[in-house]
Point group: D2
Chain length 148, copies 4
């Protein structure tokens, strides 16, 4: 599509391990009638949180170690517009000592090929000092379950 982008390797649903349903909103669309690019980064964030919350490994108000986003990325391959309903598919591609990298595909209903693919890097930090900490064991186990 362009001479200036990451190679757009085809990504299908089978490449992802956890799926979160996401409803679009009227205000997601911008003046060109497509969902604004930054909205997708919020969906990526949400799909990842959906997995961690369902696994029971983050408690927003109490966990002593929390995940801070230090990088996000999204590549857009096709249009999404309100009122589409999408799914965010999540997989883990790297688990380090204090950080982890997730990849997320955004899928439209009934279509196997992703319309957008992105990633997000969490570094785990102490809630009070905000210094990097080793990934807690329960989070590491949850990440490993969807690691590819």
């Amino acid at each position: 599509m362009s001479d200036d982008t990451f190679p757009a390797k085809s990504e299908t649903r089978s490449g992802f391990r956890h799926f979160a349903s996401i409803t679009t909103r009227w205000a997601d669309n911008d003046v060109y009638r497509h969902v604004n690019n930054s909205v997708y980064n919020g969906w990526i964030d949400t799909a990842i949180a959906d997995y961690l919350v369902k696994e029971g490994v983050i408690d927003v108000s109490k966990s002593p170690v929390i995940g801070f986003v230090i990088e996000n990325f999204c590549q857009f391959r096709g249009p999404v517009s309100y009122p589409d309903v999408v799914e965010g598919g999540v997989r883990v591609v790297h688990i380090g000592k204090t950080s982890t990298r997730y990849e997320v595909g955004i899928f439209k209903e009934g279509i196997d090929e992703a319309v957008a693919v992105g990633y997000l890097v969490h570094v785990f930090v102490d809630r009070a000092t905000q210094r990097p900490q080793p990934i807690p064991d329960d989070i590491r186990a949850a990440l490993t379950k969807i690691s590819v």
Copy 2:
């Protein structure tokens, strides 16, 4: 800060060519009291649009060729929280036939080092057919002015 990220090369104000002032909003902060990661992607988008609008090279309702975002990225190096006021510094790092890549640094008031650095790729398309088009001459000239 992590074993899993792009190298965080220091970026200062002098590396950018156009600056847009951006006020944070109460709702930008998430439960961890920092601006949510996807908000930055919206700032990057806005800082770039600010340049193109001020140069007079895009008319949201009439331009026959419009810029679609096909990639975005942001790396977070320090916290930003409401009520901070930030500036988005813009430069162009690649101008292709139909697409261009911008880099944007996010700066806090009175601090020379960027707290976040990101990029965004526009592909220029025909408004009606949404097929890629050569970058129009006036947009190319504007991009060239802030190219590094």
Copy 3:
């Protein structure tokens, strides 16, 4: 709950005529861990659009007469937080010559009582001149179907 609000008349699902499912997002929560108030207004907007789109009476890119929001309101009766899934229930309470008033209840899964109730007023305007126009017949018919 307060000495300074609209009376909080109980509102249950049976009082509404169309329901739209809405997934919350990580960034909807603010620093106090509840969905930010302005997000609800976006849900109200979206639930109404959901009805009009499903009825086939608005075409975002072509309808010659479009609905502009001239008033919105929301009263918050209980907390909603990500990862809650909510439903927006819609009814029409007034159909005038050029404008209409919708009421929307926000419901949590499995709970009959609304956690928030709001309204929104659309004035219908000519897309080009943006002057008020009589509500088109097809839209009027759709509004009437969910009028109480």
Copy 4:
């Protein structure tokens, strides 16, 4: 403008006591090229917070008593679109035992008449129990300073 709205009493800058500058964002605009209605509610929230933060009466992470929004409202009188810069003017119109009502006017640069006027009601609650509490003395004093 409509047969179905609050009376649109003219509101000018002199009617408000504190002003917060707010920059619009590309994604604030919706498909009809105006800032989406729910974005204004976020501006109202932000303009009020701006006052309370500058007065030093709220500390997001520590205040034992915090303000929860229990009602919001906005009436739209004219269009605002990115890249407009606006100001939110704030005044307090009611101070009760546990709650307070603010009114906010949204002003475009160089124009004395508000393009939107809204209100917001805060009830003050204990951070832990989330039960209503008397408005703390320092907050009450700050509210009184901009009361009309």
